[in-house]
């Protein structure tokens, strides 16, 4: 019996990372110890297949302007945003500033903040990280749109109006499921004609009634929030308030009142 051998020892054996003499000893013991063979079988996987399978994740890596990265490490001498082209270098600078900003927000005590304000704030905080490059490469086919809507619908146990996939003046990019304090949250991403990311989010809110849409500025972004049919909504983006209000109206009309 070789019950004294640890799992770590057996893993090293299966991975060929044992000294030759220890490897040979286990190999010899296998012939006479069926329990050892069973333990090895329970740990045995074809690890040589894992690497090739993960090669697929190398596809579709986001484009990164590494040539401009040197500028990101140092304070910019001029406004990078003013050049009219938001390169990754610029977005990295923005992200660094935002990172410090967001860290300060996250460290604030939030226990006394009402739940609806907290989820609005979290959505806005999340959306602040989006840059045009985040959404530009996303291509939503009809097939993937249906599949994404189905996943969101299943997660929220809610019919998702197809009209949300064709709101006027914006291009639908993606629907995904996020979560807030244990409640599934629908996150639909759009891109404005000017390339700006816009997010429409909604979740089931116990006790939610019907409220008039309220337009506000939150963390430098325009936002419209409202409640309707037991759901809480927020639409947010770095666009003008009128554009966002029109989108909020179209989204609201897509849902039953």
């Amino acid at each position: 019996m070789n019950s004294h051998l640890s799992d770590a020892h057996l893993i090293r054996f299966l991975d060929g990372r044992l000294p030759a003499d220890e490897h040979a000893a286990i190999e010899a013991a296998l012939a006479t110890d069926p329990a050892l063979a069973d333990r090895l079988a329970a740990l045995h996987v074809d690890t040589t297949a894992i690497g090739p399978a993960f090669e697929t994740l190398l596809d579709n890596a986001p484009e990164v302007d590494f040539a401009s990265m040197e500028h990101a490490a140092d304070p910019p001498r001029e406004s990078t945003l003013g050049r009219g082209r938001l390169s990754l270098a610029a977005s990295l600078v923005v992200a660094a500033v935002l990172g410090a900003l967001l860290a300060s927000v996250w460290q604030e005590p939030r226990q006394d903040t009402p739940r609806d304000e907290r989820w609005h704030a979290d959505v806005v905080t999340y959306h602040k990280l989006y840059v045009p490059e985040t959404v530009a490469p996303l291509e939503a086919s009809v097939r993937s749109l249906n599949s994404q809507f189905e996943r969101v619908a299943n997660a929220l146990s809610l019919d998702i109006p197809e009209a949300l996939g064709r709101l006027a003046d914006v291009e639908f990019k993606r629907a995904q499921v996020l979560g807030f304090e244990g409640t599934p949250l629908a996150h639909l991403t759009y891109q404005s004609a000017a390339g700006k990311p816009i997010a429409l989010c909604f979740l089931k809110l116990p006790g939610a009634g019907t409220s008039v849409p309220v337009t506000s500025r939150q963390r430098g972004l325009a936002a419209v929030t409202w409640e309707q049919a037991g759901l809480g909504f927020i639409i947010v983006g770095d666009v003008d308030a009128k554009t966002l209000e029109a989108l909020a109206k179209a989204a609201s009309e897509a849902f039953p009142t």
Partner: protein
Amino acid sequence: MTESVRTELVSARLRLWRFCLSLTRNRASAEDLMQSTCVRILERAHQFRRGTRFDSWMFRIAQTVWLNEVRRDQLRAEQSFSGGDLDELTSPTDPERDAAGRDVLNAVLSLPEAQRVTILLVYVEGFSYAETAEILDIPLGTVMSRIGAGRRSLARGPLGESNGDTTASIASAVERGAALS
């Protein structure tokens, strides 16, 4: 930022992307994580010690950024994953992707985060157990127990061979192990 760090980052860019995707299992979060990691690497370029492995340092920073964001960002922590999400993670330009490979990828990505990232570093990135422990800032024993738990789960899926002849299966493993040593 030193020129060498920039050069290393350019060369390791795709591996960093794969690491971020494997951690987050979500393209949008992976993009956020990759961007934040690049920022952190640039900020800390002066801390990188010549003669040490850049990829280990890069993955350690990515892991730290991810953990800090997970602790603080409830939205991201609660994102779910299902096999269907592979459509978003893999190339839509190659719909004929090998089905077995997709099953393997799905099985590994379905593991709990701690097991998933450890399996990735050892069996995809090729780090030693000790190097993996250093990257993840955990004891070596924890690395081995994570690998053990991950392997037990994977052995019951498409990567396992234990449903057939056990002896033949192990003999096959021994051959492969010997080839690695």
